[in-house]
Amino acid sequence: MKLPMTRYIIRRLLQAIPLLFLISLVLFVLMQNVGDPLATMSGRTPTRKEDRDRLTRQLGLDKPIILQYLYWLIGNDWTKIDMNGDGVAETPGIRKGVLRGDFGTSIVNRGVPVTKVIAARLPNTLILMLTAELVIILGSFVVGIYSALHQYSLVDNLMTGAAFIGYSMPIFFTALAAIYIFAVYFKRWGLPSLPTVGMFDPQEGKTTLQVIRHMILPVSSIAFISLAAYSRYIRGTMLEALGQDYVRTAKSKGLPRRQIVFIHALKNASLPIVTVIGLELPFLLGGAVVTERIFAWPGMGRLFLDHLERGDTPVVMGILMLIAVAVVIFQLITDVTYAWLDPRIRYK
């Protein structure tokens, strides 16, 4: 790799570090007021005061915010905490802190390390979101290119109208409409209906076929909206590319139409799309909160919501930092890829 590019990458990474610190600090402070984690720990019997105090000390919630943040960041195994309430710190802490890879343990899932909690849900989200993204990319290219080639035809106008309506739809509209038509009505009309809840049927177990069947409705709901938006965008960039001089040259040279469209025009038209998709990818890690809620899909979005509502700071911070780091990395990858693909861009 050329030296200026390497220097650029290093500079970006160095700039990202204070950014991540700032984000983590702001989020940590916001999380302080989000709910009392102890309120949900007691189950049905009210907690005794001594237990509540003990839990507060154990979880380190009695310390000032800045100290809690410090412990979260670099752990507390270099200091002692006061476990038995006598005012004297005697037990050495066991947390190593985020900077050494220890994200703490979940407050809601007592004692389970945050990384384990997240890792249990992450694949589910990835299956859903990556499939949706694939459908979106393929579908929008097909529709966009067709629309661009047949500009102002009937199909194009229909597609444009449908696209406008599509990307104006809120996600629950598509999701509920899909459930309504394909699950409820199909069942009434005796057609095989698509399942709407969860990832797999508990009786059948987590087989691939089950997951695929359960995935159809959520993926379609997500994909429909984004497909509408992207197909318009691709249509726009394709039209712009097809209007360029080099396409006219290629046509006058007598190149077959397929070659002109798919090799010359498409390559240039897809550059901005690469950027947009690349920047959107890390946000897939967050799942789609509303979709997951509607379809009861056990993903990161629901994980975030459930743990946020119960004030589980370590898990919520873990999710947010995971996404933040992913965003920074993907932004860098996207920029480098864009520079690699477009010879006109040079980073200093």
Partner: protein, 324 residues
Amino acid sequence: MVEPYMDATLEPSSKIPQLSADEIESPPLTLWQLTWRRFRRHKMAIAGAITLIMIILYSYGGSLFVSEKYANHNDTKILLQYPSAKHPFGTDTIGRDILARTIYGGQISVLIGLTAAIIEVLVGIFIGSLAGYFGGLIDALLMRFTEAVLTIPSIFLLLVMAKYFGGKIPNISLFGRVYSGSVVVIVLIIGLTSWPFLARIVRAEFLSLKENEFVLAARATGTPTWQIIFRHILPNSVAPIVVAATLGVANAITLEAYISFLGLGVRAPTATWGNLLQGAYSYIDQGAYWLWLFPGSLILLIVLGINFLGDGLRDALDPRSRTV
């Protein structure tokens, strides 16, 4: 033969600029007139504007026919009824008339959309203009801050802030109606999470506009900096700001619906289109389509109208377009 106007010895007829014969036929149009003419040609934008006006009439005018008490009045004997003559949109899970609730819900949703967009525009312009005009360290710091906000997925940030501010802000009474404090919370958090988009646009505009000669002239005549920013450069960058603000309203309405749907938004009994959908998905199996169809369609219509309008505005306000 020497043509008169080519002869340098001829005196200029007068120093006052005269309209030529051509110009007298079609008087010059002001910028706004040109913009309006370009806008008029967009049928979709006009349709969008009409849709918006109709929805606003429905929400605000409808409240003249239906009282708010009726909208919040629940009668559990008539819960979950199909749309009928008496309840054209059906009744919800505790027996409230959905038509009335969509009317009042519309008022709140539109209000939230507009005020959140205003906050977004104000914060965005403030930060974007400072970053774009001053450049250097201020620009770097403000842009890092902007990026920080953008790095966090907006739904997550909204949810965290909703929980942080939830229940903290008391109810307000304005014009005789009581607004739940959660409305203010929603407006604040949506405004505070959506501004980066606009700030970037404003900054880009300022970066390109500040190289112009009128800025140099203003500086040379000793115009104070804030005047240069707000009275000289800003009015020239109005076009993309207006378009972004319009789309921001649609975005705010949609976000409010999402958050209310998740239960963290506007609290009952105040109705918004979002929280009308809250219980809708648990009753899907019973086929209660009216619970989500009507509020959802209204959201769809208003967002669609705004999108069309924004599209038309973008083309109409484009300063590079010369067509009339």
